[in-house]
């Protein structure tokens, strides 16, 4: 979806001057990123709600995994379908429906009498989360001026981790005050209806994406929207750009399954898939979903663990800032590999200390320090590189298929981690589980070293040439016959 470094279309438009239009654009950005915030809240809230839910609904490790990960299965489906629906019906309409879906899913979960209804609600929430993950980014990058577009992917990521932090804080406050009352987890969940309502009301006042309107041939309406968010002179100038970008979007949907028969295309998609798997296989989401339980098992009491877990949320937000800053300054490959070394060491040490220290506040504090370190490397290095690289490696005509397949892969691995983590902890213990993640981290490091290309400061054409040259005999005959 992002066009940061490889924008084929250049315009001579001057940057927006501050004023009415800029304020309108800021308001629009804030409203739309409520989608990202909801994404974060709904994935993060389970972290603190789960310990209470386990008692109330009588969850086993297996059903804990199912309740947590059913959201991710829904999200995989939502991300897959979301793109098509928003291409057909429009971004604004889609976001309005997503807000409704967020609210409905939240209410189903809140009033769930048992595991079955809970899983249904989580799948509905997942559809909304997955749909938001593609539509909000598309909407924002289509209404923003070119100079702001590059930062949007990472800004949305920032909203997601902020949503998770918000969920951790709400969990700690609600758990701290009403922890002894029954069904306290229902209150933790129901708060997510507030941003959903805000998103819906806010989006009612927001315009449709001009690029989507242009892709439907509705140029008059597209210009009217541009006049709301740009000054008059620039709006006229940008209509041509928007038309060209709408054409480019169509071109991005060119590749189909048959193109995977071409070796160099297949090679790029495999690298994309590897990047997606490597981001999730560190087990980052086991901490984002089960952080409170990890800390309780290590020796904190329930209230203490809820409060300590906020540190995980805070570090995620801070590290995401640092990561965005780093992306502009260091090369992607070293950043990724340093991130992998950091997360590997932290995972290994969690395993070691869980083995040698007796359960208690001391061990819990050490584990907390290590999960914070882990998240600093994950959210400050691995995740930002992942988002950016996935938007950089695909040639234009492969972008739709490539991003779609990699997005699906991200959700599937995320789902497996969410499902299997509680089951693994129950079966082989917490330290062995972390050793397993550390081992997978070593594999990921080796794969990254072997196949991930450097994308910073290189054009798509240079990258394409590299992928073609790695192809051996087939490529050589190609050179000869052409």
């Amino acid at each position: 979806m992002s066009h940061d470094t490889h924008d084929a279309v250049q315009t001579d438009t001057t940057p927006s001057t501050p004023g009415r239009h800029a304020r309108r654009l800021t308001l629009l950005t804030v409203v739309a990123t409520f989608g990202g915030l909801l994404f974060g809240y709904d994935t993060g809230v389970i972290n603190g709600a789960l310990p209470y839910m386990t008692d109330d609904l009588g969850l086993t490790p297996a059903t804990e995994g199912v309740v947590t990960s059913s959201l991710l299965l829904g999200a995989a489906l939502g991300a897959f379908l979301g793109g098509r629906v928003s291409d057909r019906r429009g971004r604004r309409t889609m976001i309005l429906w997503l807000a409704v879906l967020f609210a409905v899913g939240t209410l189903i979960c809140t009033f769930a009498p048992g595991v079955g209804v809970m899983v249904l609600g989580r799948v509905v929430l997942g559809l909304a989360v997955g749909g938001a993950s593609v539509t909000v980014i598309a909407y924002l990058s289509e209404v923003s001026p070119a100079e702001r577009r590059g930062r949007l992917v990472t800004q949305n990521e920032l909203m997601i981790v902020s949503g998770q932090l918000l969920a951790f804080v709400c969990n700690a406050v609600i758990g701290g005050i009403w922890g002894e009352a029954g069904g306290v987890w229902r209150w933790m969940l129901v708060i997510a209806t507030l941003p959903a309502v805000a998103l819906w009301v806010g989006m009612l006042a927001m315009p449709e994406s001009p690029r989507w309107l242009a892709s439907r041939g509705r140029f008059g309406e597209a210009l009217a929207v541009l006049q709301q968010v740009r000054d008059a002179k620039r709006a006229e100038a940008e209509l041509a750009e928007v038309r060209a970008l709408a054409e480019e979007d169509k071109a991005a949907q060119t590749a189909g399954w048959r193109d995977l028969a071409v070796p160099w295309i297949r090679r790029i998609v495999v690298v994309g898939l590897a990047i997606a798997v490597m981001q999730q296989i560190t087990g980052v989401n086991s901490i984002m979903y089960y952080g409170t339980q990890i800390l309780t098992r290590s020796g904190f009491d329930r209230d203490g663990a809820l409060i300590a877990n906020i540190a995980n949320g805070v570090i995620s937000v801070l590290a995401t800032f640092v990561g965005i800053w780093l992306l502009g300054r260091v090369r992607r490959r070293p950043m990724l590999i340093v991130g992998q070394i950091g997360t590997f060491c932290a995972l290994l040490l969690v395993g070691v200390f869980s083995l040698v220290l007796p359960e208690g506040v001391g061990r819990a504090s050490v584990v907390l320090a290590l999960t914070v370190t882990f998240l600093a490397f994950q959210q400050g290095a691995i995740s930002p590189v992942t988002w950016l690289m996935l938007s950089e490696i695909f040639p234009l005509k492969l972008r739709g298929l490539g991003m779609g397949v990699c997005g699906l892969m991200l959700w599937i691995v995320n789902f497996l981690v969410g499902l299997l983590f509680p089951i693994l902890v129950a079966a082989i213990g917490i330290s062995a589980t972390f050793f397993l993640f550390a081992g997978l981290g070593v594999c990921a490091m080796l794969v990254a070293k072997a196949i991930v290309p450097e994308t910073k400061g290189r054009t798509l054409e240079q990258l394409e040439r590299e992928f073609k040259h790695a192809s051996g005999p087939a490529a050589e005959t190609a050179e000869v016959t052409r």
Partner: protein, 116 residues
Amino acid sequence: MTVMVAVPDSPEGRTALSAAIDETRLRDTDLVVLNLALDPLDVVGMPSDLPITVRERTGHADLADCVLAALDEYAGKVDLLVIGMKKRTPIGKALLGSLSQRLLLEADVPVLAVKR
């Protein structure tokens, strides 16, 4: 009357292209090259004395649809479609179907199918 050639990103594509160039010369006509690859066609080494039009593929995920749409567009002008063929494994055919088979059956102009 024009010759059209479908050039996928494969050795057969290149075979079809050179056969189409020969055929165009023989018929003393012009050639429309339909580039089915995701990257632009490498025009180095193509004869400069022939009237050649290169069309890139955009927005068509299905290669056969793309070729058939182009044939429709040139209806009445194109009188020969050149394609390349290769042996396919049963699994490959089951997964992706056969591009040449669809074109042979569905194109409404004569098709010249060349083997490597």
